[in-house]
């Protein structure tokens, strides 16, 4: 659609709205972070930034982020690639079902997993450690989850699907003639895999690996639950520590903004790298159509490998989940897991009696709904202007539209604190509104992605045909664009609502006495030693999340089926 007249019309209104939303919700918080990091006493100051970076806790946190993220990336990539290969390229039994099972960790919040592993493997009171000591007679604790290895292991369990999805997709769509022609020229399957398949799938592996890296760098939950005890801080947990402990003193805010700046720059770099990898690799492998790839015959290994996969799932998904529910039902934390020690009282207390947890559940649901609705509509408008309109100054908007993708949650939260704590006339601090504002910025990227994909499908001439039929711009939007983009909007809604329900990284920096989210409540209860309540609430959260996922999958299936 062209903005035909250079007057002030619908096009200009939409453009202004799009720029306004992105500036207020995304650009201003990020700019305030840069500004606070580099601007000291009315002057631009790099030396001071370097001084902050040289402080022990700062550079240790940077180093930890790097070490943890690299570790998770390596292990997650290996695990993800191996399982992806297993379910697409071998004759493993029940491949379809296994593929679905390997995606389950994606919908489970990793900090809840971390809590479960803490209950199982913490040196002093972890159930597995106690089992080894009390039953098997070991002298001291066998495992320690409060270590780099422990953190990397737990994060790997939840992040490997990034690689798994990408590699499955590439392997399924790979042009079979590439492999067949190698076959014909006499290469065996091992050679083909090494010389043809791996190089062709490498871009997808790399792209998934970079997503793991990006996510892990900016990840708060697991490190907060497992690392703080042993003094292991990464960037987001140190930001949290600085903001919470020193109640917003100038120095701690400075350190926070410097750390956040490092995080933004790293994230932008990783995304840039990922874009390059994808744009180089995409074109050659994909033939567009699905096909039946050549399968490796596992022969005698078929059932052992199936057993291995099932054991992996039992160990990484079933065991922690069961632990959460069992501990949530204990009368007191630390009691043996025996029938006489269980009660429904914790769950009842959390759901019906305790104001704090009831507030948290209510807050998370309403925040999720509100953020999803607002961000969905804002995302449509912004994507529409970016994808469809020819207006002057669109370059700025395209740049602004890229911003949400490279701004991690803790950065958003810190930026929102700087922008909405009364310095500019509006004080939302300690209210749910500040979390809502942050969620809009945090999830804008999801909405932009889903909506632009949908809008790309709506050819300009469809709108013009409506205009030629006598429809005004608004009528054309209402009758043609919105109905055609509705699936994209719905997708955006759920892409936001479900993650928002279990969100922790952002809200943990922003919550006040009455504005805890489910994630914050679980986390703080655990911190305060209320382990059984924390586990019970985590169990309830899991039920809500899984129910939501299942209902929505059903809904989408019937919607696209009819």
């Amino acid at each position: 659609m062209s903005a035909a007249a250079p007057r002030f019309g619908t096009a200009q209104v939409l453009f202004g709205l799009a720029v306004g939303i992105l500036v207020i919700f995304v650009a201003v918080p990020v700019l305030l972070i840069f500004f606070n990091a580099f601007w000291v006493n009315g002057a631009f100051n790099v030396a001071d930034v370097l001084k902050v970076l040289r402080q022990k806790d700062t550079y240790e946190a940077l180093l930890n982020s790097l070490v943890l993220a690299s570790g998770v990336t390596v292990t997650g990539t290996i695990v993800g690639t191996f399982f992806a290969w297993l379910v697409t390229r071998t004759d493993l039994p029940f491949k379809g079902a296994m593929k679905v099972l390997f995606l389950v960790p994606f919908m489970l919040p990793s900090f809840i997993g971390a809590l479960a592993w803490k209950m199982l493997l913490s040196p002093r009171s972890g159930y597995i450690n106690r089992f080894f000591q009390e039953v098997l007679g070991f002298d001291g604790p066998v495992f320690d989850i409060y270590t780099y290895g422990g953190i990397i292991g737990v994060e790997t369990m939840y992040l490997f699907p990034f690689v798994f999805i990408q590699v499955c997709g590439a392997l399924e769509r790979m042009d079979p003639t590439l492999e067949e022609s190698a076959r014909i020229s006499g290469a065996d399957l091992f050679t083909i895999t090494r010389r043809i398949t791996i190089p062709l799938v490498l871009p997808s592996i790399l792209s998934g690996a970079l997503l793991i890296m990006l996510y892990s760098m900016a990840h708060f939950g697991t490190v907060a639950v497992l690392g703080i005890e042993a003094g292991i801080y990464n960037i987001p947990t140190l930001i949290y520590e600085k903001i919470h402990q020193s109640a917003g003193s100038f120095d701690s805010i400075r350190t926070g903004t410097v750390l956040a700046t490092v995080l933004v720059v790293t994230a932008a770099f990783i995304l840039w790298l990922q874009n390059r990898v994808l744009s180089r690799g995409r074109y050659q492998i994909i033939a567009g159509k699905s096909f039946r790839p050549t399968e490796l015959k596992l022969r005698g290994l078929r059932y052992p490998l199936l057993a291995f996969c099932l054991a992996y799932i039992a160990f990484t998904i079933v065991l922690p989940t069961v632990t959460i529910f069992l501990v949530g039902g204990l009368k007191t934390y630390g009691l043996p897991l025996a029938a006489e020690n269980f009660t429904w009282g914790n769950y009842r207390h959390i759901l019906f009696e305790w104001q704090l947890t009831r507030d948290a559940i209510w807050n998370s649901i309403t925040l999720g709904l509100a953020a999803a609705l607002i961000t969905m509509f804002a995302g449509v408008i912004i994507s529409y202007v970016i994808v469809k309109m020819k207006v002057r100054g669109k370059g700025i908007l395209e740049f602004l539209g890229m911003l949400p993708f490279s701004v991690p949650g803790s950065v958003i939260a810190l930026g929102v604190i700087l922008a909405w704590s009364g310095k500019f006339g509006v004080n939302l601090y300690n209210t749910v509104w500040i979390i809502l504002v942050a969620y809009i910025a945090r999830y804008m990227a999801f909405s932009l992605k889903a909506n632009s994909a949908a809008l790309e499908q709506v050819h300009d001439s469809l709108v013009e045909a409506a205009r030629a039929s006598g429809a005004t711009m608004w009528q054309a939007l209402r009758d043609v664009v919105v109905p055609l983009v509705r699936p994209g909007m719905l997708a955006a809604f759920f892409l936001i609502f479900l993650p928002a329900l279990r969100e922790l990284t952002v809200s943990v920096l922003l919550y006040g006495p009455t504005s805890r989210t489910i994630g914050v409540a679980i986390y703080t209860l655990n911190e305060d030693g209320e382990t059984v309540y924390s586990a019970a609430l985590a169990g309830i959260a899991l039920v809500i999340i899984v129910t939501g996922e299942v209902v929505i999958k059903r809904f989408f299936k019937t919607a696209s089926g009819s």
Partner: protein
Amino acid sequence: MAGVRIEGLAKAYGDHRVHTGLDLEVVPGQCFTLLGPSGCGKTVLMRLIAGFEAVDAGRILIGERVVADGASGVHVPPDERGIGMVFQDYAVWPHMTVFDNVAYPLRIGRVAAAELAERTRAAVEQVGLAGLEARLPSQLSGGQQQRVALARALVSRPELLLLDEPLNNLDANLREEMRFEIKALQERLGITVLYVTHDQEIALAIADRMAVMDASGRPRQSGTPAELFDRPADDFVFRFLGIANFLEVRRVDGSLRLADGRTPWAGPAPDRPGDRLAVGFRPGDVVASRGGEGLPGVVRRASFLGAQVDYLVEVAGTTIRAAVDSGRAFREGRVLAEGEDCRLAFLGVQWFDAGVLDAGAA
């Protein structure tokens, strides 16, 4: 009924100037076709008339109303221009049934329900889609979708109908049928039609008047189809309206010879002076026969194409195409074989300056 007048129209994208000072007039109630090669700016012109693009300079009038004026900045939005339009890519809405697609302009125009249903049915019937009203576009063929687009453009009885290659994706039979259908509709409803295409056959068949544009968007000639076909203003128009043969003709010592300097030209006399000329003619204007009078040539290839036999004939070093009605050729025993000598006579020719010979080769 509204005509269209375009005065000094200019439109550029960046430094790519699509139109520079275009003038065009479409008489009310007529079917005007604009013929031009791909990329010459036909779609851009349609979009300017419809109001999807703003003019850089010049004026567009629909009826008596100025709808776009570069000087004063007037720009009437598309929905207020009272046009119907069929897009090159149909632009049928995929989420609406055939009925809803066609009824949409009436819904927007707040036509009462009973009348809306009646007129929509009539329009659907007009384009031969009766019975398919409840289908979604994904359940229609490309040709059927195009007819939905046509019905949608007609249903609101616009004063001006803009058609951008609406028959492109139809098979030959359907295309012919639809082109008569459009012509018949236009005459029955008395609407003004502006039809752009690069297919000269359609253009000639349905136009009351037409214009030929060159690749840079400049109109070379306008007039009735017969005028353009019979008296092309230049070799571009001549070439564009059908297969064109050219032979070089020289004046040597007062007599006319072909390019080899020996073979005498045996056809109508030139209408212009000059020592080097080019004579142009269409395959159908050539009568090829065994022996007798005329220009001597050798058949290099004979292709039987059904209704016609198509010959490639070498004349004085140049290869030309001749087409002969196969029925007549069979009856009169004039079917020539490859390698056979023949004589060529001409029913009609066009004279050009010799420069066009190089243009054709380039």
